[in-house]
């Protein structure tokens, strides 16, 4: 089954791909198929990145996990890809024609090779320190939260296969590599500089990623649209550009949030019956592949209300009476104040940049620069990108890395 390498570069040093989301997976697979060895480093316990944690993907409304799952398996099964989970790159040192990377693997008390996913450790833990990393990722990955763990050892007693060892040490390894591809994705931005959005002031005001989990079919509500106190949420507001296109936070547009909101709003409308679902937007950016059609046929047809406004105040009403949103509809020029049950803040995404990236390799806005010698970047850490773009960029980065060495 082994393919022949494309070139006589079998001796070329392996490539370090940092980040196991769609961009990293695409890059790793294309490099490995072309004959290069790859070290794929992922901070979390499973491959797939943010995409694997999404309940649905636009514009097809497919499950987010499924398309990534098969690719993640290919990575794990490929003889030339070494997958390092729970691992970060702590240092990167240049050398003569190669680089040295120091990988740090955080102590993982549960040995994935021995875990049979039975969940007895989670049941035995009195501190709720053992939990699934994500509800719908399969096979399930359990993780012990070090902050909560008291070291009582009940989990290791409960484990039938002896997979739990609370004293497993952290590991560090040095690797000789010939090229780095940064694919570290994004993280939620801190909304503290924009207090008007009320982030953190009430559990029913949440960001879009939290909301995705909240309404996920495999999530805590099994797909129902509820408030945190259990009431059905009949009025849901999405606030776009909350934390993006804003000089106080970050000036870039996160590029994925318009479609993300349309997708979520569509599912809310489908599940909540006759409730209201409002998207407060500034510019509706549906420039991607099939996005405008999705907006017109899938979203508008579901009865989503589009209001061009940037709400100036979001605050929880006293007595658990919902969330007030104060805004001015800029198309009708009417100020209004409305009560919602759930408010989703959408847009505050910033590039996730690992420590090993030197400051000189950063572009404006904290993104990882594209063409630093010996390193490339792809996906959201290079510039805001959706699944499709990130995967294409991953493949392109792989091709650039391959041909750079051959040349």
């Amino acid at each position: 089954m082994m393919e022949q390498p494309a070139q006589s570069d079998a001796i070329a040093d392996p490539v370090l791909v940092v980040g196991g989301g769609v961009a990293g997976i695409s890059a790793a697979l294309d490099l490995a198929r072309a004959g290069r060895s790859v070290h794929l480093v992922e901070r979390a316990g499973e491959l797939g990145g943010r995409t694997a944690h999404l309940d649905k993907l636009y514009p097809t409304d497919h499950c987010g996990f499924c398309p990534v799952w098969s690719e993640a398996r290919l990575c794990r099964r490929h003889p030339r890809i070494s997958v390092h989970t729970w691992t970060t790159v702590s240092e990167l040192m240049p050398g003569e024609g190669f680089q040295t990377a120091v990988l740090h693997t955080s102590p993982n008390a549960i040995d994935p090779e021995r875990c049979i996913c039975c969940g007895r450790c989670a049941a035995a833990c009195e501190e709720n320190a053992v939990a699934l990393t994500a509800p719908h990722v399969y096979p399930p990955v359990f993780r012990i939260d070090a902050a909560r763990c008291t070291g009582c050892g009940r989990c290791s007693e409960a484990c039938p296969t002896g997979a739990v060892d609370l004293h497993r040490p952290a590991e560090a390894q040095r690797l000789r590599i010939g090229g780095v591809i940064w694919a570290t994705g994004f993280e939620a931005a801190d909304l503290a500089p924009a207090p008007e959005f009320g982030a953190g002031s009430h559990p029913d005001i949440m960001d879009a990623l939290a909301f995705e989990t909240w309404i996920a079919e495999a999530g805590p509500n099994q797909g129902a649209i509820r408030c945190h106190d259990g009431r059905p949420a009949t009025r849901v507001a999405f606030i776009q550009c909350a934390g993006a296109r804003d000089r106080r936070l970050q000036s870039h547009c996160s590029a994925v949030c318009c479609m993300h909101a349309l997708k979520q709003a569509r599912w809310v409308r489908r599940r909540q019956g006759d409730g209201r679902c409002v998207i407060f937007y500034t510019d509706l950016r549906t420039e991607g592949h099939g996005y405008e059609t999705y907006f017109r046929q899938a979203a508008l047809a579901e009865g989503i209300e589009m209001v061009r406004a940037r709400p100036g105040l979001v605050y929880p009403l006293p007595g658990g009476d919902g969330i007030a949103v104060k805004y001015e509809n800029t198309l009708t020029r009417t100020p209004a104040m409305e009560r919602f049950d759930l408010v989703v803040l959408n847009g505050g995404l910033r590039p996730a940049v690992p420590e090993a990236v030197e400051a000189s390799c950063l572009a404006a806005g904290g993104f990882v620069a594209e063409d630093v010698p010996g390193a490339r970047s792809c996906g959201f850490c290079k510039a805001p990108a959706d699944v499709e773009t990130a995967a294409v960029q991953g493949s392109a980065a792989a091709m650039e890395t391959l041909t750079e060495v051959v040349r």
Binding site: A6, A34, Y138, S251, C253, R285, E287, L331, A363, A383
Partner: protein
């Protein structure tokens, strides 16, 4: 009647996860009484220890037997078990995993009796499926190690250059007499603000200096046939027609900017120009004066053409800034619906335009702007959606942003979506199409800017490189998102009536009708077939089959599902098997 293979069963207790709920004694008793099963074993955890290695050794010694594993779901450890057996040298077609943990023991944990009955049913069905499984040998494809790149624009140039650097033979076909595509028409390129010529020169030079790349200018692909590894192209150019064989084809034929006469009085009133004419004015370098109004979303994002052309907002921003920089006193206005400047650099461009003094006015598509002037443009009247007032803007020039329209090319055997852009695979495979070996990048796929098109070109090159880097590849490897395809469909010529249903439904154009001495018969191209089974579903007399899940096998599996329950009592000894009649 064919002899059925002997099936061995191994049941995994999964450390009590299954064994504490399902009665293994009863399962074993039943299987011992089943004459289709040669041996039954149980173990505590198949995935741990050396049980699997021993199993593999026994299977290699005893070549005809098959193995049914009853344990956890294939999604959990089940498929890993098959992988590991394969690593020990066992043909994976001889092994099947039946899930009696996730889908049985766990969800019926409170009903031990019923769970045992269900496990017995599942195992019985698994045995039948495994006995009937046919695994036709894989097909080796002799691969022509050449890539045909159609189109010499940014996407095609990037793809060809990357492949050439990787040492792959490339034939680059360009319909016009000049490489560069859209770079020949643009002034500067957003968002880098580099001159289009400065960007084009090094690209073209790299192509021309690469000994691996043959360039055919003024040449079109008149016909394209074949499948992954062996595409046949008929090239028609100045020197007549030539034939070319290529292992992979990258379609980078781009899109065309087009404005119909009459839209916003275009072509009727002097001073109303298209975005492309604006680019030409910048390229020609002549002085550009006069107050200018840009109008966005011209004949796109409407009912008829419900897509955003993606390139026009950045182009308008770029040109507006350039006009303002050339003459700060000039009034430059952009009439827009939504400004499409996603991401980092384009959003920065939008802010730069605002800072440069470009005026933005939002309009409602229900009330489009009106062009004023009798024999030349004098201004534009627009209903400002934000202020609610009608505004008259004096202007000597109106630039209609030119949307991209798909090009029609009948030679390319690819399905298009409703607007005419080529249909691609979703999510992680968006430069791949339903035809393995045929890749699409650039604006032929969807409107995209120069930089994005080049990225897609390199991504397509990576996919093509994988296919043509080896002289022989296996048909089962052609699906990039799974390790191997499920199976290749077969049509039984004895019963096929040539109705053509399979040809109509096949999403991979793998089925075709052929004239035989006894009439029309459907044929399946084993390289194109992806094993989806659509043909088997529509075949009126079961002539089209997937060997993995043939009609005979399916009927017997379904019959076996209920075989143990004929008189309503669960878990009877296995009887009433129709399987072997």
């Amino acid at each position: 009647m064919t002899a059925f293979p002997v099936v061995n069963c191994i049941l995994c207790r999964c450390h009590g996860e299954i064994g504490d709920i399902v009665s293994f004694n009863r399962l074993q008793r039943q299987l011992a009484g089943d004459d289709r099963v040669a041996s039954v074993e149980s173990c505590d955890a198949l995935c741990l220890g050396d049980i699997l290695a021993n199993l593999a050794r026994r299977m290699q010694a005893d070549n005809g037997t098959r193995l049914l594993i009853a344990g956890c779901s294939p999604l959990a450890r089940g498929e890993d078990l098959i992988d590991r057996l394969e690593a020990y040298g066992v043909d994976p077609a001889r092994v099947m995993v039946t899930d009696i943990r996730e889908g049985c023991a766990w969800i019926h944990a409170a009903q031990s009796e019923a769970a045992t009955a269900k496990a017995a049913d599942l195992i019985r069905m698994g045995i039948t499926a495994l006995r009937y499984r046919e695994a036709p040998p894989d097909i080796d494809i002799a691969v022509c190690q050449r890539v045909l790149v159609m189109g010499g624009g940014p996407a095609g140039l990037a793809a060809a250059a990357a492949l050439g650097r990787a040492g792959v033979a490339v034939t680059l076909v360009e319909a016009t007499g000049r490489l560069g595509g859209m770079l020949n028409y643009l002034g500067r390129v957003t968002p880098s603000n580099q001159g289009a010529d400065a960007m084009r020169e090094p690209l073209v030079e790299a192509i021309q200096n690469d000994p691996h790349i043959q360039v055919h200018l003024g040449t079109r692909v008149a016909a394209l046939s074949g499948s992954a590894g062996n595409f046949e192209a008929r090239l028609s150019g100045k020197n007549g027609e030539t034939h070319l064989t290529a292992g992979a084809v990258i379609v980078a034929t781009g899109a065309k900017p087009r404005l119909s006469r009459g839209i916003y009085r275009y072509g009727e009133l002097p001073g109303v120009i298209s975005g492309m004419e604006m680019e030409k004015a910048f390229r020609d370098g002549g002085p550009i004066g006069g107050d200018t109004v840009f109008i966005q979303c011209v004949n796109v994002r409407n009912q008829e053409r419900s897509y955003c052309s993606a390139v026009c907002c950045p182009a308008a921003l770029k040109n507006a800034i350039r006009l303002k920089e050339g003459d700060p006193g000039m009034a430059v206005t952009i009439l827009h619906r939504d400004i499409m400047s996603p991401g980092r650099q384009l959003e920065a461009l939008y802010r730069r335009a605002t800072a440069a003094g470009v005026l933005f006015i939002r309009f409602d598509p229900q009330e489009p702007p009106r062009i004023e002037g009798r024999d030349k443009v004098t201004g534009v009247t627009v209903a400002d959606a934000l202020s609610g007032r009608e505004r008259s803007i004096a202007a000597q020039r109106v630039v209609l942003s030119t949307p991209l329209e798909p090009r029609e090319n009948r030679a390319i055997p690819l399905p298009a979506e409703r607007h005419g852009f080529y249909r691609v695979q979703p999510f992680l495979h968006t430069v791949e199409t339903s035809a393995p070996g045929l890749f699409v990048c650039g604006a032929a796929r969807w409107p995209v800017m120069v930089e994005g098109a080049m990225t897609q070109g390199r991504a397509a090159a990576a996919k093509a490189l994988h296919l043509v880097s080896r002289p022989v590849c296996r048909a089962s490897e052609l699906i990039s998102f799974q390790k191997a395809r499920a199976a290749c469909a077969q049509v039984l010529p004895e019963t096929c009536t040539g109705c053509g249903n399979c040809v109509a439904v096949c999403p991979f154009t793998a089925c075709r009708l052929e004239q035989t001495p006894t009439g029309w018969r459907a044929m399946v191209d084993p390289v194109r077939c992806m094993g989806c089974g659509s043909c088997a579903a529509v075949c009126p007399n079961q002539s089209a089959v997937l060997p993995e899940n043939g009609f005979r096998a399916m009927v017997r599996i379904v019959a076996d599902a209920f075989a143990g329950r004929q008189d309503g009592r669960p878990c009877r000894t296995i009887q009433g098997r129709v399987a072997d009649q």
